[in-house]
């Protein structure tokens, strides 16, 4: 393989991986920005997305329906969880959120096991995306191109949503000064529920999109959640742009690190995180820097 095709396909690999990481990291950072809590259950929502996706594909035979159904169901469940349980805890310190969201991870894991069983489940990419294209004579899966494209589209949509819509404005305002927003007559609690739901919904989309690559399995949550925390810490807790940069950075380091230094690929990711924390303790675009 020549160097140029190698470089191009590796970059595309990294972008497709960055897209998946971004779906997770973006939701986690939005939730942190508004609510100042780390959602430990984020990986479980990602996993739930994959399983809901599996069932939707199973019943309707259509991957695209799954892409719509999963974020709605997973996001709805997230919002309901915020309304029913998290809302009661805002007066307490951070430990309460840690315990409750961690507990939710365990409960969701068990419930998923009871409903869908222990065996990994196959989710096929849609027929139209399961082919390969030749990029500079190197075969490349169409599905990975789709992932990279979907990541870019979703990033643009969220950016425009935060900048241009009224809810986006409220979200930005709440993350800066929740009391002021409240004083101006907006129900901050509703904003919080909406953000928690949107964040979980994004994790749900990520789960559906990841399923054709890794199958829907009970190991998804722990495997995904660590990379996600690294991204959010590198990018800065609460920063949307930071999570985007973090996802791209981590994906490129993993893909190229694994190629050139296979035994140290994981170490590189953490090395970057440590370096960022030393130089800018709040993350690249974090507020506490």
């Amino acid at each position: 393989m020549d160097f140029l095709p190698f470089l191009v396909t590796q970059c595309l690999n990294a972008l497709s991986q960055a897209a998946l990481l971004f779906f997770l990291g973006c939701g986690l950072t939005l939730i942190f920005g508004i609510m100042r809590i780390v959602n430990f259950a984020h990986g479980a929502f990602f996993m739930l997305g994959a399983y809901v996706g599996y069932s939707t594909v199973h019943w309707t035979g259509n991957f695209w329906t799954a892409l719509i159904a999963a974020p709605i169901l997973v996001g709805g469940f997230g919002a309901a969880f915020e309304l029913g349980i998290l809302r009661r805890l805002y007066g307490r310190d951070g430990h309460a959120f840690l315990m409750v969201t961690f507990g939710l991870t365990l409960v969701m894991g068990e419930v998923i096991r009871l409903i869908w069983g222990v065996e990994a489940l196959q989710v096929k990419p849609p027929e139209s995306l399961s082919d390969i294209v030749f990029i500079l004579d190197e075969p490349f899966p169409v599905y990975r191109l789709f992932l990279a494209g979907a990541g870019i589209v979703v990033a643009l949509v969220i950016w425009q949503f935060l900048e241009r819509t009224r809810l986006g404005l409220l979200i930005r305002a709440t993350s800066q000064n929740a009391e002021m927003v409240h004083a101006l007559g907006t129900d901050v609690r509703l904003v919080r529920s909406a953000v928690f739901g949107i964040g979980c919904g994004l994790a749900g989309i990520g789960g559906v999109m990841a399923a054709p690559l890794v199958t829907a399995s009970l190991g998804m949550a722990p495997n995904a959640v660590i990379d996600t925390f690294v991204i959010v810490i590198i990018g800065g807790m609460g920063s949307f742009l930071g999570s985007l940069i973090g996802a791209v950075l981590v994906a490129f380091v993993q893909v190229f690190g694994t190629y050139y230094f296979p035994d140290f690929a994981l170490a590189f990711m953490y090395l970057i995180m440590v370096t960022v924390l030393v130089v800018r303790p709040g993350g690249l675009l974090g507020k506490e820097a």
């Binding site: 990994a120 199958t215 190991g219």
Partner: protein, 400 residues
């Protein structure tokens, strides 16, 4: 009317005559109790469940025919969660509390290795149906342990023998980055070199790797015509699904240590073309296997998986031993088992007195799409004779 009443009288008479016999039977003949501590939850849970189903199926069919030595069989299954210390405790429970003198189970080799030193003290015989570790019939051998199944070294040996006759010349290897992955690949590397072929390089992916694109790129670039995979669970499924998306199989033959139905079910089409050793699959030839598969389908509605077959074979070995000894006492059963020979679902299996390893054939399978099956199935592509696959007594390596 007369005919009907005559019939009932005869039936009544028969029942009256028979009842004391039934009574004596129930009082005089204690059931044969078999303890089965195995991993029903945790990492080995799926394998443990298969083992239990295999044992339950055998017990049901034996009891339906009036039991063994005229005695019914009872199973005492216990969950060990795959933990060696728990396995010892649960084994002790079934032996001392429930009075079992026969043991199945111990899903993981680490559990079996922890239990075997206690067998003499308990005066219990343990028939393994899945433990792979070569040491159980080698350095850790005890007289009350019998292995009816194909061991780990025997599986690797089948792959090695296959390599010698196959056309592949350049090999690459990808393994999970822990003891099992690194050990298996080092054994494989030696075998490749012994057969005079070229081993290009090995690479290890961290446990829980989600994105295999770079590993796939490296395998493609290496120019290898075959790649040996030592992956399991989620990692194995993720690799196979992604390799299919990159059409890796068009260029490189994927080889693996063990082919099982679960991972085929999880990745579907992506498993097609995979070649590996198999301890058991329902597609094995022979009348005994055909009958077993048919009976299994009738009971469970699907075909038996690897460890359901292996457990069935272990049960057949035990049954032959008990029938030969006419007893379940360890001192009578042990010598009987040492000379047992059965026509199993995997062909002829002979128990060997010197290390209690069941001498049996080795199998290589290829995953193919077959008419009438929802998932792809493993198809037998090579069989190796028992004397080439089974190591010398109490050994785990092969001289040639």
């Amino acid at each position: 009317m007369t005919g009907t009443s005559g019939f009932s009288r005869r039936a009544l008479l028969g029942a009256t005559l028979a009842s004391p016999v039934v009574l004596r039977h129930a009082l005089g003949d204690e059931p044969i109790k078999i303890g089965m501590p195995c991993a029903l939850t945790g990492p080995g849970g799926e394998v443990g469940e298969q083992m239990r189903r295999g044992a339950e199926f055998w017990i049901k069919s034996v009891n339906a025919k009036g039991g063994l030595l005229g005695r019914p069989i009872q199973l005492y299954a216990q969950d060990t969660a795959g933990d060696p210390a728990t396995a010892v405790r649960k084994a002790q429970d079934v032996v001392e509390r429930d009075g079992c003198r026969l043991l199945f189970g111990m899903t993981l080799s680490s559990e079996a290795l922890a239990v075997v030193p206690k067998l003499a003290e308990w005066n219990a015989i343990f028939i393994s149906s899945d433990n792979g570790d070569g040491r159980l019939t080698g350095s850790s051998f005890v007289p009350n342990f019998f292995r009816a199944n194909t061991s780990g070294p025997m599986g690797t040996r089948a792959v090695a023998l296959y390599l010698r006759q196959a056309n592949f010349k350049n090999f690459y290897a990808l393994g999970m980055d822990y003891a099992w992955g690194r050990n298996s690949i080092s054994v494989f590397k030696d075998e490749v070199k012994k057969s005079g072929k070229n081993f290009i390089a090995d690479i290890y992916s961290p446990i829980g790797t989600q994105d295999f694109s770079t590993y796939i790129t490296k395998i493609r670039q290496s120019g290898a015509d075959a790649c040996y995979l030592v992956l399991q669970g989620d990692d194995n499924n993720a690799f196979l699904a992604q390799a299919k998306q990159y059409r890796l199989g068009d260029k490189v033959q994927l080889l693996t240590e063990i082919v099982d139905l679960n991972s085929i079910h999880a990745v579907g089409e992506a498993a097609i073309g995979l070649i590996g050793s198999s301890r058991y699959t329902f597609t094995f030839p022979g009348e005994a296997n055909a009958q077993f598969v048919a009976a299994w389908k009738k009971e469970y509605g699907n075909v038996p998986d690897v460890f359901e077959g292996e457990q069935w074979q272990a049960c057949q070995v035990l049954q032959a031993g008990i029938e030969k000894a006419g007893s379940i006492e360890a001192d009578k059963l042990r010598p009987a088992l040492e000379t047992v020979e059965i026509d199993s679902i995997k062909g002829k299996v002979t128990m060997r007195a010197c290390d209690h390893q069941g001498v049996q054939q080795g199998f290589m399978v290829k995953v193919v799409r077959k008419e009438g099956f929802a998932d792809p199935i493993p198809e037998l592509i090579a069989t190796f004779p028992a004397d080439q696959v089974t190591p010398a007594c109490r050994q785990m390596t092969y001289d040639s």
